[in-house]
Every structure is written in C-alpha cells, then in structure tokens.
Amino acid sequence: VRLGPQPYERIDRTGSIDREGHLVFRFEGQPVRAFPGDTLGSALYASGRRVFSRSFKYHRPRGLLCCSGHCPNCMMEVDDVPNVRACVHPVSGGERVRAQNVRGSLERDLLAVTDKLGGPFTPVGFYYRTMIRPRWAWPYYERFLRGVAGLGKVDKHHVRSTRFDTEHRYVDVLVIGGGSAGLKAAEHAAAEGKRVALVDEGPDLASREAGTTEFEILTPARALGIYEGGLVPVDAGTILYRFRAEKIVVATGATEQPLLFPGNDLVGIMLPGAVRRLVNYWSLKPGNSAVVVTTDDRGLEAVEDLRRASVHIAQVFDLRERRVREIAARGKKGHVRSVLVDGETFDCDLLVMSGGVQPNYSLLAQIGAKVEYDISRGIFLPSELPEGIQAVGAVTGDGISAEPPPATFNGAAKKGKCFVCVCEDVTDKDVKRAIAEGFDSIELAKRYTTVTMGPCQGKLCHLPSIRLYARENETDEAAIGTTTARPPWAPVSLGLLAGRPHEPAKRTSMHHRHKDLGARVMWTGAWRRPHSYGDPVGEAKAVHDALGVIDVSTLGKLVVRGPDAAAFLERLYTNRFADMAPGRIRYGVLETDSGRIMDDGTIARLDDETFYVTTTSTGAGAVVQWFGWWNAVWHMDVEIVDVTGALAAVNIAGPKARALMERLTDLDVSNEGIKYLDAVQGDVAGVPCLVLRIGFVGELGYEIHFASPYGEYFLDTLLERGRDLDIRPFGLEPQRVLRLEKMHILVGQDTDSESNLLEANMPWIVKWDKGDFVGKWSLEKVKERAVRENLVGFEMANGVVPAEGAQMVVDGKPGGRVTSSRWSPQLERAIGMGWVPPELAHEGAEIQIKVDGKLEAASVRLRPFFDPEGEHLRS
C-alpha cells in the first residue's frame, strides 16, 4: 500500500512522513507500525485496514471518507478517550486504539443485522413513537437502544489524567485558518507591525516560505466559535485559548461535499481531498482501480494524484460536461466493487465523488453575518460581515466554481440505501418521510431526522440535505434556508471546557498551628476553619470553667475613616454611632433596603473619624462591596479599607481571661481599665494590638486583633502562658453551642432572605428616630402590616435535640421551623432557636417539634439561656 519514497517527503511540511523513524501503537491489541508524520488513520490504512468504524444505527462498515477530521467514519477509542478521529490524530507511539460501536470485530459486527432486517423498525422517529407504549417500558427500551446504537462509550470509572487549562490571549489580528488566503492575510498584517496569531486545525496548513514575516502559528488548534465581543475560544488539545483580537480574519475555507446516490457510504468511496492526502501526505495508494464522479476541478486534481500513485483510472465523469441521472454503488461485504452509472457498470475498488465544496461560514454566521444562497454555484455564502470581522479565501466563495449537482442520483429501481447523513445514518427515504409527516421547515426536519446533528455537525450533510428538502418541497434552496449556526464548530472535550479543578480555600495565619493541635478542619464559605480539636464538649466547658481561645481571623474587618464616617455608618446600620464615644464598641446589624438582615458585627470607634468594623466571616466580601456601593451613591467624605486579610484575630474567653491578659500586657485590664464594650490599643505579648472587650460566647472575653504575620507566635504565646490557667483552643462547634446559649443569631443560619429585625425579635436595635437608614422604610411597612412570625429560643422538655430545619407543629398544622439546635452540656438541656407564629412568641409558650416523626414538647424562651443578665460578660 505504501508507495515508494516520494520527492516531496524530503520537504519539511506538515503531514508528510519521515521514513527514517519507526513508531508502534496497538490496534485491538495488535501492534501497528507507523512513521513519524503518520496519523493513526494513515498507519492503519498502510497496515491494510479499510473498515475503520461501524455506522451509528445500521452498523454498516465505514472507511475513510474525508480524511480531514470532519466525518464520523474513522472515530475510534484512543487511550480510553472515545470518538477520536483517527485520520487526523498524529501517531506518537504506544497508543492503545480500539474500535467503537461494535459487537465483535470491525469486519464481523454482530449488530450489522440491523442493516439487513431492520427495515421496518428503523425509520426516522420510530423508537420515540413506538416504544413509549406502555410508558413504563421505555427505560428498558432505552437501555437496549443505547447499547446497540451510538458512538463511543465513556468509561465512568476513568480517572481524570489529563490536565486542562485556560489561557487568555490578546492580539491585534487573529487569523482563523492556515490555507493560502489565511497565511497571506497573516503575513500582510504582521508586515504592518501588528501582533498576529494564526490558528489552524492542522492537516492542511499551507507551506510557508522561510524568512517571511514572523507571527505566531498555533496548530493543531481549532477555533470553536466567535462569541459576543469577538471572543474566540480555541481548542489546542489541553489548552483552551480565549482569544480577543482587534480584528478577526476568518479563512476557514470550504468543505468538500458528497454526492447522494444508493450505496454512497460503501468503504472505498472517498472525497477527492481524502485521496489526495493519502497520496501526498502519507505516500499511500488509495486503491487499484478508480472511478471518479465530479462536479468541479477537485475530482480532476485527484485523478492526477491517483495516476502518479499508479492507480488505474477506470472512468471519469465530469458532471459539468456530461449529465448523469443515475448512480449506484455496489459492494461486497460493505466494500465498493463496482459502480453503475446510467446503466453502465464499471468495476472499481475506489470511487471518488466530488459534489463541490461548501464555504465554512459557521463562525461568521455565529457573529452575525447573513448567509445567502448563490443559485449559480449552488452554495451558501456569508455576507454583511460585522465590524472587525474579515473573511478571506474560499469561505467567501473565492475560487469556487462547480455545477450544482442534483439532490440525488436515485434511479427508479431500488438499489440500496442512499445516505444524506452518514453520522446519524439518515437516508433520503427518512427525509422524504419526515416531509410527508409535515416537518416541512428545515429547523423542524433537522430535529426530527437528526440530519446535521451528528459528529460532523452538518459539515458534510447540511448542503445536500437542503438540496433534498428543496426538491421534495418543490421549491429552491434559498427558500428553504439554513439552520442556525451555533458553536462549537468542532467537537470539544468536556474536560477542556471544565478546565482545571479549582477549589480556592482561605486559611488563616494560624492554620498550621491548628492542624498541629489536632484540629478537625471544616469549610465555612471559602475558609478552612477548625470544627473542633477533637473534644467539642470539653472545649465548650473550658470556656465556661477556665479559659478558651478561638481563631477569629476570618471575621471581615474594615476601617471606615473620614469626617463623614459616623454619618455613613448611621445610614447603613439600623442603630446609632454618632453619639458613640471613642474607645467604645457597639453591635450593629446591616439590613438591605427591603428590610432583610444582611450581616452583623461589631463597630468600634477608635477616634472621632475612625471606626473599626467587623463583619461575619462569610459576609466580609459582600459587606465590602455593599459599603463601596453606597458610598458611590452617596459620595460621602469617607474611605473604606478592607483589612480582613491583613489582620488576624483571636478571642480569649472564660473566667480566667483577665488573669492571662495581666500576664501579657501592661494595659490596665481591670474591669475599670477595660470595661465591657471598650476598645483599647496597646501591646499584648509584645505585639501591637487592638483589644475589643466583647464576648459572644457568654463569658468574660477579649477579642484581640493584630497583624496577620504574628498569628502563630501569638497563639503559641497564649497557649504557653495560659497553660497553668488550663487554657484550651476551641473550634467552631463548641462556639456554636456557646453562642446558642447566649441566643445570638447566626446570620444565614437563623435568618434567611425573608428575615427582618422586627420579626427576628431584635426591635431594640432599630433606632426609628435617627432619620433615614438603609432598610428603614421596609421596617416601617413591617410595623404597619404587623409581625407574621418571630425568631425565638426554645428549650426541649425531655432533652431530645431536634434536627435543624425540623418542623414545629401548632394545632396539628405546620407552624414554624427550627433553625439552630444543640445540646448544651453547661445547661444540661437541649436548646435551640426557631421561627414561631407571633401568638406563641412569649416566654414559656408551649410548642411542639417534630423529631423522628414524633411530636416532642418544648417551651419558648425569649432571653438568653445562659447568664441572661450578662453578669459573666461584665465581670
């Protein structure tokens, strides 16, 4: 099969083989030899293989047809990746290649029986109309059908081994297509000093003369589409380039079209380009005796190449010179053996058919170009290109001249299946049937017959199918029109679109110390935080009895500074800040204008014009954005700086917190020196700190903020100096229990998109008399319409902990829901928070909560479960 050394093999050009080298890959376990420069397809062809696949529905043998990576005929499984086009996949050696959609072997496929017997069972739409009765049986039918029809199989247990990446690229000029027109355009733009990139699918990249202008060539790389804003995603195997360019030059050329006649899918029937590539790139002899049927010069050019490869030319039909009415290919075991043309039979093992070319206008149509039918040449052409888009070469119709062939060359007699679409095994009979059933619009008929919906996406069947629709509807192609061109232009692997697995995580500057201390780490938003250090009960108990420390570096931290700082915060929060003395702290809640609770935190006034604001851990980003937006609206004289990452923070809490502080700082930490809700700046453990005396875990506590890099040192020092005070680090889980004991709401846990401050039982924090603030009007409306539900605490009668989200039952009907619930070891009670109807929102109201299908009694609590007077906090 391999021809002797050809003169052009020495020339360094894409696609040609190097006989010095030797590569081996395996097909169905058997070794196949190849030269560097071979594709899997050319090497298999050289090894004598002619059947490359079995067809989608009928399991007919199929061989090389286009040899340019468009048609489905050479799709194989390569290294567990299905649907790889063998004809364009370069051999690198060692590949494991397998046939797909086959039971048995490519030569003897058991499912080929569908081609012989399937006649009455395989018309278009048959399964969907027939196998839905009885309805319950469809899943069984479906499982069967999916097994016998289709493409390659995805290995569900395959481990992802390829790493895909995305790269954003910007150039002045992006040229899509490396044919002579594309290369010329690229060279021209590069000569003008523009930054140019050219992308090309690979097999047909035209040769370039050495020493011409420099520009980047990406190959094999396929432009998948042109999206809004001129975005061009380019599939380069494992990298997806997202190209932006000032100007996009589309030089996508044209695709050879098949002719429609009975037996037009037999092995050995090829498009002229396939024949030429076999001869010119890989020095392969495509057959022994050839018949050529052509509507343009391409067929004749193929004849020249065939002669050079010493193929006997049995007959050439140039349809421009001779009118042919009937063509039928006949074969044996799926291989073409002869062709009948208008009553005359010619023996051959190669039939070259050329139905002209269709410009590849898809990318242009995607970005808004019009597509119109050119009657004289029988092709669809793009027009009215949008700004910044240029088309050159064959895609514009340049150099295309052909006699439009008839829709089909069917004679009167039945001579076998005539395929409109080889991807989906759709015949001319199927199309006629669809039209007879009323699918007369091209868009509907496409969906019903699935013509153009297979792996080639219409590259080889769109134009022929439109010709057939036109003829059957007794109209012309212009009236039928085209279907909408959509990306992707070429098949793309899902992995490439998904990109690299990406799960960003934030860690505090003390993170590794937590791990050393045995922390069980959990996700909270993007943060990784200690759930506990293995003993949540003991950790909570340590806070009540002695001393605990928790890393709260994840809190959002903002500095709000400027002459308008106090006024700014008064407009954003529901309570007052203007009357706050420097060095004092207040709790604040942010609401949206619709009255929804958005975030909460503490606000410390450091001086007249400076506030230090903390937010929830997961709300930090939203609050920074929120503050910035309102200031863009209001233009107040205030600056907002996000210091969340710059500062670390710990909360030390427990009856012995003061004792530890005394050891670490010269500050007066007595109850008079730093009062509850005081903010003081000073050195702690030698580190400049902001000490906030707040305690959301119910015991005497100091929240200490300092520069992040001190994190590990600071935590180490606390644990070391507090060892004899029985200090313990505690995690989020014990903190949840401690917070709940104090009935502190957890925004997003106890509140949702409907929750407002009045109904959340926090009316005390809404200062009605201070003028406008964000959310005030909606709260006024809530006050007018009366409260519909209330957030309250509850205590279980018998100690059962209901699930969070559990239902409350009032008079046998759903009447509320549990949002937080925990067992409190300190109180030795099951406690929680939840939403109840307002009539039950009073101390001691009896409610029932569904736990494991049974109703459990509980009673409402409105004041903190632990230390309701806050004596511990103020001690």
């Binding site: 809004e228 008064e570 407009r571 619709s594 954005q625 209001w634 233009h635 406008d772 909606s778």
Partner: protein, 96 residues
C-alpha cells in the same frame, strides 16, 4: 455574555471580571408609600435599548462605576465613575 466592559480605571476587561448591580434606580427621597417602596425595591424599567446601570470591578480595582449599555446588543456606550454633583439626584435626602 462575553463582551468587554471598559472599567474607568483599568480599561476594557472581560465582563466576567465584574459584578453587575442592575439598572440605576431612583431611591425615594422621603418616606415612600407601600407602592412607591415596592416599585423601588422590585420593579425595573427593563428597557430594550441604552440603559444606565451599576457595575463593580470585583476581580480588579474594586471600583463601583456606572455604564450606559444597550441591552439589545450589549454595546457599552460609555462608563464613568459617578461624581458627587452628577449622581446626587440618586442619593437619598438624609436628615440626621
């Protein structure tokens, strides 16, 4: 959506770098009626054509700015950082 949006600070950037905050709304200047409040909160002009809207350069300079964009074509006609004088009509009157 894959158009480019010119950030007033950073120049043209992929729209995915930005957070979209919707059309520029008029916040009532004094305590609104329920109807005025709900239309401010929930109703939008939703024009087919040029629209003034808020954008935030989330993955960039973190600036809030306004843009005039044609909602039919996503053509961005102009972008600007609102200044005190210009946008004051949007700002609520606040009595403290």
């Amino acid at each position: 959506m894959s158009f480019l949006l010119p950030c007033p600070n950073c120049g043209p950037r992929d729209v995915n770098e930005f957070h979209f905050q919707g059309e520029v709304t008029k916040r009532p200047k004094r305590a609104p009626t329920l109807r005025e409040l709900t239309s401010y909160l929930y109703f939008r002009e939703n024009v087919a054509g040029p629209q003034r809207e808020w954008w935030y350069h989330r993955d960039g300079c973190e600036a809030w700015f306004q843009a005039e964009r044609d909602t039919r074509t996503n053509e961005v006609l102009s972008t600007w950082i609102p200044e005190a004088g210009i946008a004051s009509s949007q700002a609520p009157v606040v009595q403290i």
